[in-house]
């Protein structure tokens, strides 16, 4: 088949809402776009373990500790599902990790903010996982098969993540005045960074058009952001807390809330490496990888030796 014939088959698949599979022909830019998006997503899951891991040893009860451990372990799993999905596009795990460790690849800007108090663990589960779920529910129907299947598995696991975060917020918000203040403080710090997770406004989002055309994404950044605000505000009200946005108000005409845009200058600064924790996160990832090198080497040597013995016998 000639190239344009292949292209026809590819376009036909998208038009019929069918999935593209690893061995199918796909345009180079589609492949590149997917590698970038899936690997960023994978890196976000892995780096996302750091701000929460920060509180495992200081969780206020044994119950809170086992819950947080299970949650962080799930995120590690999500990273691995996504790395293997990216690898089906012809990039190796080593290359993917190397891109993260050298700072060449990006991950979600949200994980460059610090988790200062226990309430932050509540806010992260509730808001950050909540925003991630909104995006991931959409991606369950993304056009690339391995990515979509990883998303289905991830979405099943995510719902407990958001609930455990909201439970922490509930305990604090209905607790003592100090605890409630702690919850409000966490909401104040996490609201706008969470809003940034959906990416720049549609008018300034360079990759959006292709992503929609190729059915990688099915909703735009602004649509998802609006959905998130609509879903979250009633939950804030239930907790008796206040969204740190003076412009937030219900708009009957659009059946949604009007809200302030996050500070996009701050967003650009954080993704280009100058957020509060960028350096710390990258150092921690490099340290873990380098200090784990002996484990990989030992496992490899063990497998090789056993194979030799087996073959000699």
């Amino acid at each position: 088949m000639e190239d344009n014939k292949f292209e026809e088959v590819f376009e036909g698949k998208l038009a019929k809402n069918e999935m593209v599979e690893p061995k199918d022909w796909m345009p180079d830019n589609y492949r590149k776009h997917l590698i970038r998006q899936i690997s960023q997503h994978a890196h976000s899951e892995i780096v996302g373990m750091l701000p929460e891991g920060n509180w495992i040893t200081r969780a206020p009860s044994l119950r809170a500790k086992v819950v947080l451990l299970a949650k962080v372990q799930d995120e590690g799993g999500h990273g691995l599902y996504l790395y293997t999905a990216a690898e089906t596009l012809g990039i190796s795990r080593d290359e993917l990790l190397n891109n993260l460790h050298t700072g060449k690849a990006k991950y979600s800007s949200i994980f460059n903010y610090p988790t200062l108090t226990w309430a932050d663990i509540g806010a992260v589960g509730w808001l950050v996982d909540g925003a991630a779920i909104m995006n991931q529910v959409m991606l369950q129907r993304t056009s690339y098969g391995p990515y979509a299947r990883a998303m289905v598995r991830i979405c099943k696991e995510e719902s407990f993540h958001q609930r455990q975060g909201f439970e922490i917020m509930t305990h604090l918000s209905f607790g003592t005045a100090d605890q409630k203040a702690m919850a409000q403080d966490a909401l104040n710090r996490w609201w706008f960074p969470t809003m940034m997770m959906f990416g720049p406004p549609d008018s300034e989002s360079p990759n959006s058009e292709n992503a929609i055309k190729w059915r990688i994404k099915r909703e735009t950044n602004d649509q998802l952001r609006q959905k998130f605000v609509n879903q979250t505000v009633p939950q804030v009200e239930y907790l008796g807390l206040t969204v740190p946005d003076a412009n937030l108000k219900w708009n009957e005409a659009k059946k949604g809330y009007d809200y302030s845009e996050p500070n996009w200058v701050e967003f650009k600064n954080v993704i280009s490496g100058n957020g509060p924790c960028n350096k710390q996160r990258l150092l921690a990832r490099n340290k873990a990888h380098n200090e784990g090198a002996w484990v990989r080497e030992a496992a490899q040597a063990f497998a090789r030796k056993r194979k030799e013995i087996y073959e000699a016998a």
């Binding site: 061995k23 199918d24 799993g77 293997t84 190796s92 990790l97 490899q300 497998a303």
Partner: protein, 95 residues
């Protein structure tokens, strides 16, 4: 330093005894034991399976998408492989 992650394995899970094994994803591991242990940790954290198959990816032989037409064609015109091809007298009822 080459940072080897080990070969890729395809993982199949059996949900319940008696059911077929279904592909659920892949992972890296250096040997069989590690493949099974990693599969347990990665794909069965919530009782998703009672049995695991781990198969080295490079051992899998797959048909290619371009084959769809010619490769599966031989079965398309054999309607007599389906029960609906045959007429059973009304008097016999269900068969």
């Amino acid at each position: 330093m080459s940072d080897n992650q080990g070969p890729v394995w395809e993982i199949f899970l059996q949900k319940k005894a008696g059911q077929p094994f279904v592909h659920c994803g892949s992972l890296h591991a250096f040997d069989k034991e590690m493949a099974l242990q990693n599969a347990r940790d990665l794909y069965t954290r919530r009782g998703e399976g009672v049995s695991i198959w781990a198969v080295p990816s490079n051992a899998i032989v797959a048909s290619s998408p371009e084959d769809i037409g010619p490769f599966f064609e031989p079965s398309n015109d054999k309607v007599y492989r389906h029960p609906t091809f045959y007429q059973i007298p009304d008097a016999i009822g269900h068969m």
